[in-house]
Every structure is written in structure tokens, then in C-alpha cells.
């Protein structure tokens, strides 16, 4: 039976092998994602140490002791103190080991203050790039407080930096996620969470919303570019020359529920330096951005 199950797996695995480059979790870019991937491997290997023998034993017993095999039959054997101690002991040892490992890795990648990045952050504080992220229905607004620019649905960071994101939401909860770079963390209205990641290699990565937030949720991607410092400066200059300024009033227009089809990028100059705090304070004061009834109708589509 198990053999047949595995045979059905083969085409699936073959398909998977063809497009292995798409397995983003297998190709971590930075220290955080690498640690996460290592944890995945360690956990899987340790668990397989116990699961594979069990599967094998079940298969062997299942075959060996089938009714018409005339194998040894022991109709009363149901208790063995040594074995029963062992069946508690073995899982206990494995859980103890993995538990210790789990706690250790939590501190290494803790999104607020990852142990992995502490050294770089203290020796080279200049490399820390602050980004304020505001999740709206249904876009991502990135504010660069030190560069005095803001973007919608585009996150650009210089290579070698440590990116420190402060996150909040105008309306409903969400999760932010950049598979090869940044761990998932909740983004909640009226609250502020943090997410930290390093950017060691040039490249373009997709980030997106991970927790359902309403009709436009599937369209909440943002491009994440890791570029050279020069390119970053050029990009900042480009955004800074945008005629659109992101005052709080302008932001309130941006934050109206809106599906950003195709994740179109916009740039703003001179964002209100207190914008992030104002958004949090507004949410705490009860400001909501209600969804129009057109977006909560089953019939017909409206996002275009």
C-alpha cells in the first residue's frame, strides 16, 4: 500500500525537480532566511530518524504478519515494560533536543532584534535602513523617514544594509512576507510590530501579503529590489523628485480601499515625518476605512 503511495508521488516529485528554482524556501538569500532553512533541514532530518524506521517497521510488520503468511502469531502479547519505557523515552529525547534547538533559533531570528544581525548592527550602525510600512486596503506603503520619500508597492534597499521595518495597518490585520528575505510578521491596526532582515545579495524578490484581508488581498504584492548603494541613491533621487507629496491628508486618500491591479508603483516625496505615528494614533482613536458595499457583493466583479 505504502509502495503504491510512493509510486504516485514520483511524477509529482519529477515535476517539482523541473522547476526547483521556484522553491524559494530552498534558496534563502540572507542570514535570517538561511537560518530558517537550516532549521527546516535539521528538524526534518531529526524527525525522519524516528519516522522512517517506524514507517519501515509498519510496512514490514504489515507484510510479514498478514493473515495468510503463516508467520509467528502471538495472540496475547500486548505488554512489555522495557518497550513501553522506550516508546516514551525515544520521543522524549527527540522532543527535548528539538525543543532546545527551537528556543535557540528563536533568539537568532527574532524579528524585533535578531541575534544573527546584532554584531553588524553594533559595529556598523550606518548600515541600518529604517523603513516604515503601512498596510492599507489593499496596498503597501513604504516610507523612508531618513530619505524623506515614500513608495507604494515597491521596497528598494541597498546591498549590505540591515533593513528595519516598523509595521502597522490602517484597517485590518495582515502579515508581511518576503520569502527569501524577511520572516512573516503580523501587521495590525493601532499596533506597531517590527521586522528585520539583511540584504547581502543583489536581486529582485517578491514580497506579499500573507494573511487574508479582504477582496483585494490577492493583489497585494510588492517588488523588493536589493541594489547597489549608487543605484539606491539614484532611486531615492528619482522618488524625491516626485511631485506627489505624502501629507496625512494625501495619505487618507491613498488609504481608501482600492485594489492595486498589477501592483503599480507610485512615488511620493516629503512624507509627513509623523505619518506612521499619526496612522497608529488614528486607528487607536477609532478611525476606520470602511469597504464600499460594491466590494462585498458576490455578484459580478469590480476590481477593474
Amino acid at each position: 500500500m505504502r509502495l503504491k503511495s510512493y509510486l504516485t508521488l514520483l511524477p509529482v516529485l519529477a515535476l517539482g525537480a523541473c522547476s526547483s528554482g521556484d522553491y524559494r524556501l530552498f534558496h534563502p538569500i540572507n542570514a535570517i532566511a538561511t537560518q530558517e532553512w537550516h532549521a527546516t533541514i535539521v528538524d526534518t532530518v531529526v524527525m525522519l530518524l524516528i519516522i522512517l524506521p517506524v514507517l519501515l517497521a509498519i510496512a514490514i510488520f504489515g507484510w510479514r504478519y498478514r493473515a495468510n503468511a503463516n508467520a509467528a502469531y502471538d495472540p496475547d502479547w500486548s505488554h512489555n515494560t522495557v518497550l513501553e519505557l522506550l516508546v516514551w523515552g525515544v520521543p522524549f529525547v527527540i522532543v527535548a533536543g528539538l525543543g532546545l534547538y527551537s528556543v535557540k533559533t528563536i533568539y537568532a531570528i527574532e524579528p524585533y532584534k535578531p541575534g544573527l544581525l546584532q554584531k553588524q548592527a553594533s559595529t556598523d550602525p550606518q548600515s541600518v535602513l529604517n523603513v516604515d510600512v503601512i498596510n492599507t486596503d489593499w496596498q503597501w506603503v513604504f516610507i523612508y523617514p531618513d530619505q524623506h520619500i515614500a513608495t507604494i508597492d515597491e521596497l528598494e534597499v541597498p546591498k549590505g544594509s540591515i533593513v528595519k521595518m516598523r509595521l502597522t495597518s490602517t484597517s485590518v490585520s495582515n502579515d508581511i512576507y518576503i520569502p527569501q528575505l524577511a520572516p512573516m510578521i503580523a501587521v495590525m491596526p493601532g499596533m506597531r510590530t517590527l521586522d528585520t532582515f539583511d540584504a547581502p545579495a543583489l536581486g529582485e524578490y517578491t514580497g506579499f501579503a500573507a494573511d487574508f484581508s479582504g477582496a483585494g488581498f490577492s493583489w497585494m504584492q510588492f517588488a523588493t529590489h536589493i541594489v547597489s548603494q549608487d543605484d539606491f541613491n539614484t532611486w531615492v533621487h528619482k522618488a524625491a523628485s516626485s511631485p506627489n507629496q505624502l501629507s496625512y491628508a494625501a495619505f487618507q486618500k491613498v488609504a481608501q480601499p482600492h485594489v492595486n491591479v498589477g501592483a503599480k508603483v507610485s512615488y511620493f516625496s516629503n512624507p509627513d515625518p509623523q505619518l506612521f505615528n499619526k496612522v497608529v494614533a488614528a486607528a487607536q482613536a477609532g478611525v476606520v476605512y470602511p469597504v464600499s458595499s460594491a466590494l462585498t457583493k458576490s455578484i459580478g466583479s469590480n476590481e477593474k
Binding site: D76, S78, H79, Q284, A285
Partner: protein, 207 residues
Amino acid sequence: MAHDTAPTANTRLFRPGYEGHNQISARTLGFWLYMLSDALLFTALFAAYAVLDTPMNAAGGPIASQIVNPVEGFWQTIAILGSVTSYSLATVAMKNGNRGGTALGIVAAIALAVVFLAFGVNDLTTLAAHGDGMDRSGYLSAYFVLILTHAIHMGIGILWMLVMLVQIPRYGFNEMVVARMLNLRMFWQFQATVWVCVYVYVYMIGA
């Protein structure tokens, strides 16, 4: 089979005349389990209250120390404990087969429960009249709903007692009536237990 023993001449395979369980015991155990379930309901409400009992969750509205009055709460404590004791004494009268005494105890319990509820309702309506209703802040939501949930339990208990006041003269102390009287005793005592928790947690520690 760890305890496998061969049958002997004395081995019985059937048990004719087996009485099975006792109806009253099964009912009181079942009701006790319901009350544990109800206790978890209050636990969740207390957890919610604990989370929402911060100055931030008051959202500019009143905080606990501004709305609770431990002294008034003490009169409520005496009223509800008096009610519980009267009802419990009614079941002592039932033990002696005294229908009149049982009814008297129940009436006294209802009267004291109404006194208790009057205090509570007065508190909540006064707050609401000042614009500090349950829709004012997260803290007040938790406060109102905790108090109201307890009050609704009290109301159900009073209704139940009224039903018993009809059933006792009608049926006498038969199995069903006795089981209900016992369950109601647990239910009513449980309201006092919850109130002790509310009084201490909301009225005293909040003060």
C-alpha cells in the same frame, strides 16, 4: 489480555436485575459538569477583562477605580450570599419534607436576589446615562458584559425558582423535583462563587 483468567463455575456473563445508575446522581453530576463549563465561560470573560483593564483600553473614558464602589459592592455581597443561604436553607426544609418552609426559603432567596440585581442595574444605568455605556471604550465593554452576564445568570435562576414554586405544591418532592432543587442549589451557590471573583477582581483590585 493482561488480566486473562479462565472462567470458573462462578463466572457470571449477565447480571439480571442490575439497577444501573441513580437518576438523581446522574442529573446532579451532569449539572455540575455544565457548571464547570459555565465556569470556563466566566474564565474567558475574566481573561478578556484582564486584557482590557488598562488605561489604554479605557480610551479616555473612565477606568476601574473611577466607576467601582467596593462599599456598595459589599452590600451586594451580603444580599447575594443571603439569597444563596436562604435557598440552601430551603433545601434543608426539603430534607425534612417541609413544603411550606421550602417555599418560604425560595421566596426569601428571590427577594434578596432582586435587591442584588437592583444595585447592579442601578450602577449600569447610571453609568450609561453619563455617556459611559458599554460602547464608550474597550474597558467599559468588558465591565458591562462581565456584570451583565452574571446578572443574566441571576435572572435565569429567579425564573427557575418561580417554576419550582409551582412544581413543589403540584408534584410534591418526587424524584424530578428533588433533582431540580438540588441542581438549582448548585446553580445558585455558583452565582455567589462567581460574584466573589467579580467583587474581588473588579471592585477591590480595581479600586
